[in-house]
Subunit: 347 residues, 2 copies
């Protein structure tokens, strides 16, 4: 469908391209987002060919998703740079982008872009993922860009540590300092919650609630940190059912109770790991879906952390930072105000 809006002044098309969705940002010469589009074309859900025939080349379905999402933007401004982050750079994506080792800087990420040539337009650049080597390796794709976006919005002394939480399907906790990503952890909290609710006996007695049940959530948090903690997660989750059987937990409260249990275990682990490095408590920032950030903020404070700052628009800002560092766009004149110091962080 043609967009009749004025498309002049666009300097970058930035893509947040994950497993289940594609978000496209049209950005002006100062990095402001002029327009955002959201499509269900995640890399595992690409649009089929219209006539149902097999694609002539592996990238055709990705190109189709791109055209459907922002073909008009690209047509209106020939040569517009295109930058993407996320699972589009995985082995199942459009092109596998390398993993950079941690610690990593903005400049290293900008130097490590993977180029995908396109038949009818400028190439797509894909941001690398991060690989943390160790006995138990750790990986991320997409979150590195969010972290850069969060860091760009903070006004902190250069060497102040920042702990950035990115709750979601797989929660990431990233320790950054001097603009570098130093270390990170992954917790499968969101995906485990969905699997327990959708595919175990715990979901059978749950009923949808009209609103989040913060009391049930807090009760789950308390169990996770309580004196019974020695029994562990595999035992504690069963109490979602037994408290229901004994009439002590309403069906509408059970999902939030289980959410509190799991997020409580995640934050308890984080608290232990943080306690092992006796340094200045880092500045704490959360970035993610609002209700999830709200839950994590409650959990963090229950465990004695300071109230976190909530960051917004981090992915678009991070993509702009990388585009700048890679020379895909030109920095605005120094006299103009920085577009991210206002509005990108909300208390």
């Amino acid at each position: 469908m043609a967009d009749t809006a004025d498309l002049s002044g666009t300097s970058l098309v930035a893509l947040d391209w994950g497993t289940s969705a594609l978000r496209a940002f049209r950005m002006d010469t100062r990095g402001h987002v002029l327009e955002t589009r959201h499509r269900p074309w995640g890399i595992m859900n690409l649009p089929p060919a219209i006539n149902g025939t097999a694609d002539p080349e592996p990238g055709a379905a990705f190109e189709r998703a791109l055209q459907d999402t922002c073909g008009d933007w690209l047509a209106a401004t020939p040569g517009l740079p295109l930058l993407a982050c996320g699972m589009v750079g995985s082995a199942q994506g459009w092109r596998e982008a390398k993993y950079l080792p941690t610690p990593t800087s903005l400049d290293a990420l900008a130097r490590g872009l993977t180029l995908v040539e396109r038949r009818d337009g400028p190439p797509l650049h894909i941001v690398p993922g991060l690989l943390q080597q160790g006995a138990l390796p750790n990986v991320m794709r997409g979150e590195e860009t969010q972290v850069l976006g969060v860091l760009a919005g903070l006004a902190l002394p250069a060497d102040a540590p920042v702990l950035i939480g990115l709750p979601g399907t797989h929660s990431k906790w990233v320790l950054a300092r001097r603009g570098r990503i130093e270390q990170f952890h992954t917790f499968m909290t969101g995906e485990v919650f969905a699997a327990l609710r959708g595919h175990t006996i715990l979901g059978k007695t749950m009923q949808a609630a009209a609103a989040p049940d913060d009391d049930a959530f807090a009760r789950g948090l308390e169990v996770a940190r309580g004196s019974d903690a020695a029994l562990g997660l595999l035992s504690h989750i069963f109490s979602t059912r037994t408290l229901g059987l004994t009439g002590a937990l309403a069906p509408t409260a059970q999902a939030d109770y289980l959410s509190g249990l799991l997020i409580g275990y995640e934050v308890a682990s984080l608290s232990r790991v943080q306690g092992q490095t006796p340094t200045t408590p880092p500045t704490l920032v959360l970035c993610g879906e609002p209700d999830l950030c709200r839950r994590y903020a409650i959990a963090l404070q229950t465990y004695g952390f300071a109230a976190p700052t909530i960051a917004t628009q981090a992915t678009a800002i991070g993509l702009w930072q990388i585009a700048l560092a890679a020379g895909l766009v030109v920095a605005p004149a120094p006299s103009s105000s920085h577009p991210f110091t206002a509005g990108s962080l909300a208390a």
Copy 2:
């Protein structure tokens, strides 16, 4: 289908009736199992009415399952007592059987049978479940009968503590003494494993192995007890994927690695809980599916427990014990050998 075997000498039909299957035992006057039948008629999978019409009464589908499984046994010996344990006594079962509070004895279980009248034959008796009250209540249905079966096969001083592990969808660990069930814990290990393998990203890269990969299993156990334990289960399970991504864990090894991680966490919890009560180490018995018992035996020894004994036929033996205590069957003459001292326990 009519069974042409000699059905004389039957004194009890005992049923192990769970969520997904029904096992029926035809037992002689001394409690020996003469015949076992296995049907998929778990309480969530009862046989439909033949003509597809609605059932005239709630119990009709249960009666149909019973007739299909052992109608010929019941017809051959009018008045034959019928005893069942398991989820058939749950709110979703044929009739809800009460929960008895722990600690509980064999006699209390036998006195607490729930009676279901049947139109064309003797009533069905259902064994109560157990409820352990507390801040986090705990329940079992069916395992109490297995535990009684295990205890009947042990030759121990009356006050020697016995710790009985019943691995499965929901692992139960039961502390018994003087024939009484004193305390128990539940771990959702089996169901969590199935949900993670079937419904999260961890299963996507797994490939079936020709045989159990004990090295991968042991590696998972080591991670669960290793120095990284502070990060916890929600983080550690992600290593199933990252070790695969970095080429350090073959696709065919990933399921056994995850199994080792989860069982390791369960046994670690058990070890902590046991360590909190400084008494004589209990005699350790496992009862369940053979490969699962083998895995748990490895895990227990990794955590410093003694080698467990493996019990077999515990459910049938337990049902016989309850039938005896309830007077549904008459005890064999004292001169005859006890049917459970041989063959019921294997090292």
